[in-house]
Symmetry: C2
Subunit: 341 residues, 2 copies
């Protein structure tokens, strides 16, 4: 199909699902004008509603291919992704729904493994699956299995972009880009000379102690689709402030760095599924960092940058490289890695 | 593929998504042992949780084909289906999440129409979409668009199978089997000589007044996939009581009756998307019926049968035909109409 035709007839592209610039445009131009309300318009990781207790509510569909990858599978991912979205909103994850769309002919054994994995991950994250739905479609109408999880959590600390101030520190809780590379290398059977495992993990035990023991976290988001660059841009654009990141302080394993160089892809655009980007009060940032590092999932945590207020950087993300130059880091614009989650 | 092969390798069949006997078996044998907890095990239309206010929480995925059918489309269906599941649990629907899985290449115009339809249906049902997710998969990995909605509602009347007693009346709030036939006739381009429209509708204004003004509703369920026969069997099996239905009192339009005869399908197994099966206190059943009939969506409501307690009927559904004979009505066992919702 000619590219001109696609554009003129306005068709959905893979990039519209990338988590990056195109998806933001689609949601802002097509979805929000039709469905917008004050809660939805925040485009937060979870919606927060009041029921005497404040609740967080979030949803995510998982279409990852292949179903299994080093460090996880679609079942574990479907639990951890939604658990982490609740945590990022300052909520203790409590309840999960599970919607399965299954392709006719799927092996029972595959489904059993996936549901076992969901059960293990839910136990680990101390969340209960309390509602579900199951659909089967004919062969060719979906690719093996898609999973939706929606989650409810009890808000223990109200976080908001509005709380962010110039001078706040940006903490990244672990090595970036592991998940996307793990899925990609499995899907393409890439021989990188070493294994890269997904970081897929529920972050309860890393994040909840920080929320409970400090009052200094302004905002959190997990850099999934679109990667760290997209998450930082969302924070900068929506807070109206700038973000400066020191490249040398972005946690990145040597393996991932080497693999990204080999493949010619930017680790800042690759999804993680087990780390958090935290904006915290500068004065308390060292304390938060030490709390994070005390947990195995946070042992690579780093203070990677800060929030700045200047006309030059307003709404932008600036990366200072190790040789002292600066570059503007944009959201992911197209789809680098479809079906990564 | 030989049938023997499918059975011996235990593969997922379309019937596993039918809402009927096979799906119940799959959920009870494969899902519940892995994920079961007291709330999930109720297999209610919504899970009910306490957050000072009692909340109902439900999820549903929609894979209907075609996307548009007489009386509705996938967007309207995705809102009404989840709204009705909340209502069936005695809850006032309040919040919705929206998970879109879109096939690359879908026309923007189609997506706009669907989101418009979601917005209209949400306004009509006075429910707000407050959380969302969007994924795009490559051509051939899904069929145009699948939608998951999860919903939260505030419980205004706690309903339970445990409240059902012998002597209770079974009320059916409207003509059955409209939705399934409407989708089927559109999909197959059947020329029935007349149009059958889906009954797809949010039942807030029909159901809430009954819940608010009477204390006599024991239990409700909407007879979607698997049809009235499946819903009645679920009630009978899980309450341990029997149900007797008078065939002549099952609301059924002449058009649908004629179409079912023509097609050789049983209207008791065909999905509805805008009616409720209500189990109510016998003494107050006439009052409930008149409340229902006062609303356009309930004008065909009928008392169709009653709950009985006898060893012969325990856990069973008995249909008394107009010529006086009796037959046992079973759940749908296989998949009559895949992708009906």
């Amino acid at each position: 199909m000619a590219r001109g035709l696609i554009v003129s007839k306005q068709k959905i592209l893979l990039g519209h699902g990338s988590g990056g610039r195109l998806m933001h445009k689609l949601i802002k131009e097509l979805v929000l004008p039709r469905l917008g309300n004050p809660i939805l318009k925040e485009l937060a990781d979870s919606a927060v509603i009041n029921y005497k207790e404040r609740l967080a509510f979030t949803t995510d569909s998982f279409v990852v291919s292949p179903l299994k990858f080093p460090g996880g599978d679609i079942g574990k991912l479907a639990v951890c992704g939604t658990v982490n979205d609740l945590l990022m909103s300052g909520a203790q994850p409590e309840y999960l729904s599970l919607g399965l769309i299954i392709e006719e002919g799927l092996d029972f054994g595959v489904l059993q493994e996936i549901v076992d994995s969901i059960a293990r991950a839910a136990r680990a994250a101390q969340i209960k699956v309390i509602a579900g739905d199951l659909k089967v479609v004919e062969i060719g109408a979906c690719d093996k299995i898609f999973i939706n999880t929606s989650g409810i959590g009890r808000v223990i600390k109200r976080l908001s972009l509005k709380n962010i101030r110039a001078g706040d520190k940006i903490i990244i809780s672990g090595n970036i880009a592991q998940h996307g590379l793990a899925v990609l290398s499995k899907r393409k059977n890439l021989d990188l000379g070493f294994d890269i495992r997904s970081d897929c993990a529920a972050l309860n035990n890393l994040i909840l102690p920080v929320l409970q023991n400090t009052g200094v976290v302004r905002f959190m988001r997990d850099p999934t689709r679109g990667g760290l660059a997209t998450t930082l841009n969302e924070i900068a654009e929506n807070s109206g402030l700038g973000i400066e990141i020191e490249e040398k302080n972005v946690p990145l394993s040597n393996k991932v760095r080497a693999a990204c160089e080999l493949l010619g892809i930017d680790p800042l655009h690759i999804a993680s599924e087990g780390i958090a980007v935290m904006v915290v009060d500068a004065l308390a940032s060292a304390r938060v960092l030490s709390l994070l590092r005390a947990h195995p999932l946070g042992r690579n945590a780093r203070i990677a940058g800060k929030v700045v207020a200047s006309p030059k950087t307003k709404g932008r993300v600036i990366l200072r490289t190790s040789i002292g130059s600066e570059r503007i880091v944009d959201m992911l614009t197209n789809e680098a890695l479809p079906r990564i989650c």
